[in-house]
Symmetry: C2
Subunit: 321 residues, 2 copies
């Protein structure tokens, strides 16, 4: 018998396919919201964080007396990791792979909107103004993708397919990477931005990446360059980003994540020039919850069969290596 606790977001229906797990003879399912997590943990062997932004586990982890595996139904696990969990034997898995292609397409939409001057065209359209002008080619430009995990790799493949020269930045410098070719150490980012047209942030949030995109980095970007963030908002100094946009240090930005979400209605980023803001949805294409369910149910069968997971989170690093 495996006791599975499902942490569900408040006010959200539990998917039938999760509820139905409880009908099995070999699974005991407990479904709770964050306020009841502590009561459900004793005896729990598997914890599914369907409420993937929740930080509730930190407070009640002492009650996790039999916990062996946590699955987070999200790509980023920064909201989950805390010292006691990292030090424990508990295995953590995430939604690796599910969001790769959707996010890569979303990044491409940001990039092409900038290359083809979409904000300018839409502003002209609102004024009923026929204002012919030149735009930019995507083919032949250069992108630096910060974050060399599975999402970053898919972004690299998509951009390369369109003739973009791609390189990467990660936790250690290397050459000969299959998707990126050259990878620089992201600590040296500011020294590698000359000639880069697209700086794409898909880095996990870790001690190394928190605040990585600061005033120095934006100052080192080309004035015609465009910044994309589909990773974690806290990797960016948002004030420095706004200043970079307002002063023309960079040409624009596509921002799907911010350090405080939802972005407060009175935040000045909303009105910064040449910024496109979307509400943390780059990976959420129709059917995404079903795909997350499929993935968890597959992993659950792997676990029940005593087989190893193909990918687990390196808890010290803060992401899947």
């Amino acid at each position: 018998m495996t006791t599975l606790t499902i942490l569900n977001p408040p006010g959200s229906p539990v998917p039938d396919r999760l509820t139905e797990l409880g009908r099995r003879d070999d699974v005991d399912v407990r479904i709770v919201t964050a306020d009841r997590l502590g009561e459900a943990l004793p005896g729990t062997e598997v914890l599914l964080l369907w409420d993937y932004f929740s930080t509730a586990l930190t407070e009640v982890f002492d009650a996790a007396d039999e916990l062996r595996w946590i699955h987070v139904a999200a790509a980023g696990v920064d909201a989950l990791l805390f010292d006691e969990l990292i030090a424990s034997e508990v295995v953590v898995t995430n939604a690796r792979g599910v969001f790769d292609r959707p996010i890569a397409e979303f990044v491409l939409s940001f990039v092409l909107m900038h290359a083809k001057s979409a904000l300018g065209s839409l502003a002209d359209q609102r004024e009923h103004r026929w204002n012919r002008r030149s735009t930019r080619d995507l083919a032949g430009t250069r992108a630096l993708i910060v974050g060399t995990g599975s999402i970053g790799r898919e972004i690299a493949r998509v951009l390369r397919a369109l003739g973009v020269d791609v390189s990467g930045a990660g936790s250690r410098a290397r050459t000969g990477d299959a998707d990126f070719g050259d990878v620089i150490d992201s600590a040296d980012l500011a020294a590698h931005l000359t000639g880069v047209d697209w700086v794409i942030d898909v880095a996990p949030l870790t001690d190394r990446t928190a605040g990585l995109f600061d005033a120095e980095v934006f100052a080192a970007m080309e004035p015609h360059a465009f910044f994309v963030n589909v990773g974690r908002g806290a990797t960016v100094d948002t004030d420095a980003l706004v200043t970079a946009l307002e002063t023309g240090a960079i040409a624009g930005a596509g921002i799907d994540v911010v350090d405080v979400e939802p972005l407060p209605a009175d935040h000045r980023l909303w009105e910064a020039p040449s910024v496109i803001i979307t509400p943390h949805m780059s990976g959420d294409t129709e059917g995404w919850r079903e795909r997350l369910l499929d993935q968890f149910l597959d992993l659950f069968e792997t676990y029940r069969a005593g087989r190893p997971f193909a990918h687990t989170v390196d808890k010290e690093a803060g992401y899947v290596r």
Copy 2:
């Protein structure tokens, strides 16, 4: 000695590289605007329509006593062709190839803006509203490209590289096309729109395609489908398009060309729902005029050397076959 007449747009400087042709011993260059074309034609052997939208030649073609070759610095030649020219021995070339990749990227920007709900996000952004929602995958969708010339082929290749299932519509049905696989006869368009997510019009304007996209075609499109026009505005019944957008018969449109350009400020297309309007600029990326010049100068050397052109316009058909 070759007499080359260059038809230049009024008020526009003549590129130095064209003026410099006149320094050659073997070339006599005449540079005129449309009002003086008739005076320049007698003795002219080569005519460059640098003013590529001009229809001035129709009126003065009788004066073309030695004309052998016309080059139009544009992809579409519909503004040029008239019965006497078609019946004549004069060879016509166009800017085949120059705009292929830029236009394919532009089409992709339209398609991704729709798939990723960019208009919705930008409207939310103007209201400072954080409105999370699902968008659509591009991979796995279906596109029908109407127009199987070099631009349509590049659009097909770009979309295929991103996992889109592509087929074509042209002047005759066929199978096994290298870029399109199946090609339907564009006269049967309305019967082939079920399941098609993206209908992309890059057809040349000919007797067969004028008004091709009419109320019947829009009614046959899927309610979730998106229409793109980067070809010629007169292939579309614009009133029918506006009605299709207003009634939800189609989900949106990306419109770079219209039947009357510039689109009049009081035209109702400007305010139609879910439409993105751009001012006939899909192919115009930085350096496009230089690329057009390069192409003409290459063709001019070919002509002077007495070698055949790789591609000429089929004047009866109205495009390069």
